[in-house]
């Protein structure tokens, strides 16, 4: 399968494997297309997870990844792409309906926006919260003091 994809997209895809688990590092420009191909032609019809990792030292700071599973092939793969701070990605909601809340959570925790998402807003944190907690520059005890004071009426940290 990887051969056909590499044949089509050439250097944009880099297949790797670690500890028996296969994953592909894909160029950002290929993203919605690759996912569409994986779903339609290779039958990866179950989107298990969408998540991100933050590497502040790198130039392309975020690693966004999709974990996909195919029922007929009983195979799980990960599709990884690297984006810089502030860049956006196309939403996979048209491809898998499960992506809806998963992308909202990535936005909530990291600040990565997905274009074309029907409802791009925070999901776990309150709506007016400033800051994206899972970034590495967000402190572990840090809170949005303004929000806490306005909405809870207490000094933050209590």
């Amino acid at each position: 399968m990887v051969q056909t994809l590499q044949g089509k997209y050439g250097s944009g895809i880099e297949p790797l494997t670690y500890l028996g688990q296969n994953y592909m590092v894909v160029d950002r420009s290929l993203i919605p297309e690759i996912l569409q191909v994986l779903r339609n032609e290779e039958h990866f019809d179950y989107c298990v997870d969408i998540t991100a990792v933050h590497y502040p030292q790198r130039e392309k700071q975020f690693d966004v990844l999709w974990v996909l599973y195919s029922f007929p092939r009983n195979e799980r793969i990960r599709v990884k792409t690297q984006i810089a701070d502030g860049e956006t990605l196309a939403s996979s909601v048209p491809i898998w309906a499960a992506a809806n809340w998963l992308e909202r959570e990535v936005f909530d925790m990291f600040g990565i926006k997905f274009n074309g998402h029907p409802d791009m807003k925070r999901i776990l944190l309150p709506d007016g919260w400033k800051g994206h907690p899972l970034r590495k520059d967000y402190g572990i005890l840090q809170q949005d003091n303004e929000w806490v004071q306005i909405n809870l009426g207490i000094e933050s940290g209590q």
Binding site: Y18, L19, Q21, Y23, D45, Y46, C47, V48, D49, T51, V53, H54, V67, F71, N74, R76, R78, W96, A97, A98, N100, W101, L102, E105, M109, R122, I123, L124, L125, P126, P133, L134, Y138, I140
Partner: protein, 383 residues
């Protein structure tokens, strides 16, 4: 509802037209609600009593577990994992310990794996018993709650004797188990199995052919197999929609390969089928426990794991079949003692997305039934 286009001029002059004549009513099922299984807020758009659409607002129990993970070592994070799905804490622990064991490239010894399977299946039964009691209670049947909680006590007693805690057990360690099984463990598990078998028949007798139960659950909250897959729904909800898929069979872990059990499925994907699937899962869990408890091998309970765990740089995704669905752990290691990123893929979070699709066109009372049948635990949804 009167159609505004056919109102006569006389109607428009009456001062009695108020906002109550609007076609759509937006009602808040607030975070404090006895039937939402935790702090879940659902905003319902109703046409009379029919649900036109709903939106879930979650995050009331968000504790930032993934952020905490970046500041704790692998062993220190182990107890945090139980607190997410606090009803089925053992499965959470199993998933996490197995994921880290994979990263470290160790395997738990066979004795540890057998005991892990026994405890996990006992916990699956306890979780399903809690589900049955609370689900029936939401629908209005109060008796099953007392029956299931009384029987669940026996399981919790076993857990308490084994690891000291009933609910958030922290039963497993990375590399195996910490505690050897106590004197009489096998005997107690066997007594429990023979004790609980007739009890499951009792639960079935109360509900399965009960006229009121059938009317309240048949045809409620239907979701087709295709929709379920597209929405990422897993666990008994997916199996009740006809998709025969269980991670214990598809991608076995913790030597589930050695055990013989079936995967119950349903046909219609409605609430009644989900109930039947979970009742059948009780029996399958008992089968697994029986097979395991007779054959626990002797040997060490802990593999050779370094005291200071520094997995090599890399990432891994490992998932287990929790009672709620596919519970996945994505761990990124940067070679230090603390994980760089741990992502927990919670089954209840993804299953809850399907609530909107399942409740369209149903009545308000059915929304309660569907929330119960999805078997969500807010600790897992919000982490």
């Amino acid at each position: 509802m009167t159609d505004p286009n056919t109102l006569s001029p006389l109607d428009l002059e009456t001062p009695d037209k108020t906002f109550l004549d609007a076609n759509e009513l937006v009602i808040n099922m607030g975070p404090q609600h006895p039937a939402t299984h935790g702090v879940l807020r659902v905003i319902l758009r109703l046409d009379g009593e029919k649900v036109m659409g709903l939106e879930c607002v979650i995050g009331y129990l968000h504790r930032g577990v993934e952020k905490i993970a970046e500041h704790r070592t692998y062993t220190m994070f182990n107890p945090y994992v139980d607190r997410m799905d606090y009803v089925a804490a053992v499965s959470n622990g199993l998933g996490y310990c197995e994921a880290v064991e994979k990263l470290l490239n160790v395997e738990a010894p066979p004795r540890a794996q057998y005991v892990r399977v026994i405890l996990t299946e006992l916990n699956r039964m306890a979780s399903h018993q809690l589900w049955l009691g609370t689900h029936a209670l939401d629908i209005g049947a109060i008796t099953p709650l007392f029956y299931t909680f009384r029987d669940r006590e026996e399981i919790l007693k076993i857990f308490e004797k084994y690891c000291g805690a009933r609910l958030t057990t922290h039963a497993f360690r990375i590399g195996g188990l910490q505690y050897e099984t106590y004197e009489g463990f096998e005997k107690e598990v066997k007594t429990f199995v023979s004790f609980v078998r007739p009890k499951i028949d009792e639960y079935e007798e109360l509900l399965t052919t009960n006229r009121i139960w059938l009317e309240r659950t048949k045809g409620v909250g239907k979701i087709s197999g295709k929709d379920a897959i597209a929405l990422g729904v897993t666990g008994p909800v997916l199996r009740a929609s006809g998709v025969k898929w269980d991670i214990r069979k598809a991608q076995p872990y913790a030597n589930y390969k050695n055990f013989d059990f079936d995967i119950p499925t349903g046909e219609n994907g409605d609430t009644y089928d989900r109930y039947l699937v979970r009742m059948a899962e009780f029996r399958q869990s008992l089968r697994i426990i029986e097979q395991a408890v007779d054959n626990i091998p002797e040997g060490p309970i802990m593999a050779k794991v370094p005291k200071v765990m520094k997995p090599p740089v890399g990432e891994i995704y490992h998932s287990v079949e929790a009672p709620k669905g596919e519970l996945g752990y994505f761990i990124v290691s940067d070679g230090s003692t603390q994980p760089y990123r741990i992502r927990v893929r919670p089954p209840s979070f993804v299953n809850l997305q399907a609530l909107d699709v399942m409740c369209r066109g149903q009545l308000v009372a059915d929304v309660i039934a569907v929330i119960g049948t999805l078997d969500i635990v807010l600790g897992e949804v919000d982490r």
